[in-house]
């Protein structure tokens, strides 16, 4: 544990103790500076598939903690900062990061400005997703709040405007507009996600063993949200339009031994090209079909190059890897529609989110595969969609029950995964294209400070898990590590003040 982590932990423990002593959430003794904090510890267990951590074995690598300080400098100006740490498998590792840090000037109720690190507005719950006790379930519905993007969609670094616009008989409108950049670490979630974006056909033919993110340059990030507080008491309808553009440089690792073997085999198949089938044995016909497939994939020239240039790597035994720089360009635009209705102890919510992706992947080694001079793959524009419906009911001050059903599709035009299965060369099962989640959750508010939650998920499909967390095919059969139907259980306890 490094010094920063130790300091952070000690500070939280001291302040939690202080909060217990005074049982108050305001620290006038600190010169008007308010201090609040939370610490959550969870446990995850799945019967199949690793969900962002080693959940098949059961894991306690699932926690969050944060502490914030804020003060009203003047009647209109407020400053605040929160430090945050989390762990979820290989993500976070409890490294302390600067979370939100803002200067907030509220000129009028209808116009305020914020600058700094702002919580990213999206839908009903994105701003508060790092703080477990602010919601009923442990995991927000993955159809809209995909855990894979949580790190990057938490904060916007820049400036924004917000306000409240009364509209008399039709209720009122709240707006929030943010513009700036975002932080995208080269390790953790985004890195794992990019690995999953390399088409399986490339992995298969080029024997790609790994893709390692080297750097990310975010061009712009924005989020514009509006909420309509309707005249029907308790009904809120909202919409968010947000997006980002970034470039990522990665290294692609290729198993040269395996590649060389394929290249040699390819050269041996070349004489079969154009030979009438009637003159070939059934085995030769199969080889000819394989040759035709490889030629159609544009690999002929590449394999010839490999055969001519990497002879020294053959026969070394084991895996010999070589790195090749790869460039990703990603442009994403998302529309989220939200509805929440609160009636006494009952809360109903539903959201729909659609993200349009424009992705380019460039690597000169596969210029033949894509038949472009610079090896540029312009992935056809596609839309990922997700939605859910949820209800929660508080039976008493200490007990709340929640249910939701959520669906997510990587590509709304390929919901059954057929096209993806072909594009990935059969290396991944079709159910990697979707995720359906039935969730039941229970929340126990032990007192004002302590919350305990227990939750179960019945899952179908594997679109919301990382390939990097599920690397080992069973018996070497590609894709066999993913199970279509699986269960996930979660428990979490949170202390806050």
């Amino acid at each position: 544990m490094n010094i920063m982590k130790k300091f952070f932990l000690v500070m939280i423990i001291v302040l939690f103790g202080l909060a217990n002593q005074v049982q108050a959430m305001e620290f006038d003794d600190l010169g008007g500076i308010e201090v609040h904090g939370f610490i959550s510890q969870g446990y995850l267990l799945s019967d199949e598939n690793n969900f962002f951590a080693d959940t098949e074995k059961g894991t306690t690598q699932f926690n969050e903690m944060g502490i914030n300080f804020s003060s009203d400098v003047t009647e209109k100006l407020r400053l605040g900062v929160q430090f945050f740490a989390r762990d979820m498998g290989t993500i976070g590792n409890n490294d302390v990061v600067l979370d939100w840090a803002i200067a907030d000037y509220r000129w009028r109720d209808w116009l305020g400005v914020r600058a700094g690190n702002m919580k990213w507005v999206n839908g009903l719950y994105n701003e508060s997703r790092d703080v477990d006790m602010l919601r009923t379930p442990i995991f927000l519905p993955q159809g809209v709040y995909n855990e894979a993007w949580r790190e990057t969609s938490a904060l916007i670094q820049g400036a924004g405007m917000y306000g409240e616009l009364p509209a008399n008989k039709v209720g009122s409108f709240s707006y929030d507009m943010q513009y700036g950049s975002m932080s995208m670490p080269v390790t953790g979630g985004p890195a794992k996600l990019l690995k999953d974006q390399v088409p399986g056909g490339l992995k298969k033919y080029y024997h790609i063993t790994d893709v390692e993110l080297e750097s990310v340059n975010v061009d712009e990030t924005f989020a514009d949200a509006v909420k309509w507080n309707t005249p029907l008491e308790g009904l809120v309808i909202g919409g968010t339009y947000w997006g980002y553009d970034f470039k990522a440089a990665a290294n692609t690792y290729i198993d040269l031994n395996a590649l060389k073997s394929d290249a040699v085999a390819y050269q041996q198949l070349v004489p079969l090209r154009g030979v009438p089938a009637a003159l070939l044995t059934p085995t030769q016909q199969a080889y000819q079909a394989a040759l035709t497939q490889l030629d159609a994939a544009g690999l002929g020239a590449f394999y010839t190059d490999v055969n001519n240039n990497t002879a020294s790597t053959v026969g070394l035994g084991g895996t010999v890897t070589q790195t090749y720089p790869t460039l990703f360009r990603v442009k994403a635009r998302t529309l989220t529609g939200s509805m929440e209705y609160t009636w006494s102890n009952l809360v109903l919510a539903a959201e729909y989110m659609q993200t349009t992706y424009n992705v380019d992947i460039q690597n000169t080694i596969w210029k033949d595969y894509y038949r472009t001079p610079d090896g540029m793959l312009n992935v056809p524009e596609f839309d990922a969609v997700g939605y859910y419906g949820s209800l929660s009911y508080r039976f008493t001050y200490w007990f709340e029950l929640g249910l939701y059903y959520s669906e997510y599709y990587r590509n709304k035009d390929d919901k059954d995964g057929e096209t993806r299965y072909i594009n990935y060369g059969g290396l991944e099962p079709k159910h990697r294209a979707w995720s359906k989640d039935y969730c039941m959750t229970t929340r126990f508010d032990i007192n004002e400070n302590w919350v305990l939650k227990l939750e179960g998920h019945v899952m179908n499909g594997t679109a919301v898990i990382y390939g990097a967390d599920n690397p080992d095919p069973i018996g070497g059969v590609a894709g066999s590590q993913y199970e279509e139907d699986w269960y996930l259980g979660a428990a979490k306890v949170t202390y806050s003040f």
Partner: protein, 147 residues
């Protein structure tokens, strides 16, 4: 475990929970009070709600609004929230925690007793709060609320 079995178990669990925890409610009447420096004599019900959820932060004369609340568990607090904010104490508490932990606001000033809240409102410019009708004194002003 097949899907029908899971659905049956979930349904049985929910029905059981509803039977276990009947809803409760009802309390004394509540009045909205302000410091005498506040020029307004009446407020719309919607304005009361927006003040206590932090969406209206200043009076018409630009004086800052300082609102004060009672703690969760207090019956007057529950009645006030039900009547004006249309939320339960738990929902109201969670709303403010969300503001705090997303950097959007400070926590409302809260008092353990009506007496403490009354004294704060009486002594603080721009202050607004709520008490039961039996607590009214000459030190504060009682607002008329338009429903």
């Amino acid at each position: 475990m097949n899907f029908n079995k899971i659905t049956g178990l979930v349904t049985a669990f929910i029905v059981g929970i509803f039977l276990l925890f009947p809803c409760t409610g009802g309390a004394d009447d509540v009045v909205i009070i302000t410091n005498k420096s506040v020029s307004a004599d009446t407020l719309k019900e919607e304005d009361v709600k927006n003040i206590f959820i932090g969406k209206i932060t200043s009076w018409n004369d630009n004086q800052k609004i300082n609102f004060a609340t009672l703690p969760n568990g207090d019956e007057i607090h529950r009645t006030f929230l039900k009547k004006f904010i249309k939320r339960t104490p738990e929902q109201y508490s969670r709303y403010w925690k969300k503001q705090i932990f997303t950097g959007k606001s400070r926590i409302p000033r809260s008092f353990q007793t009506e007496k403490g809240l009354l004294e704060y409102v009486a002594s603080t410019k721009g202050a607004i709060g709520y008490v039961s009708t039996g607590q009214i004194t000459d030190d504060i002003k009682v607002l008329t609320i338009q429903f």
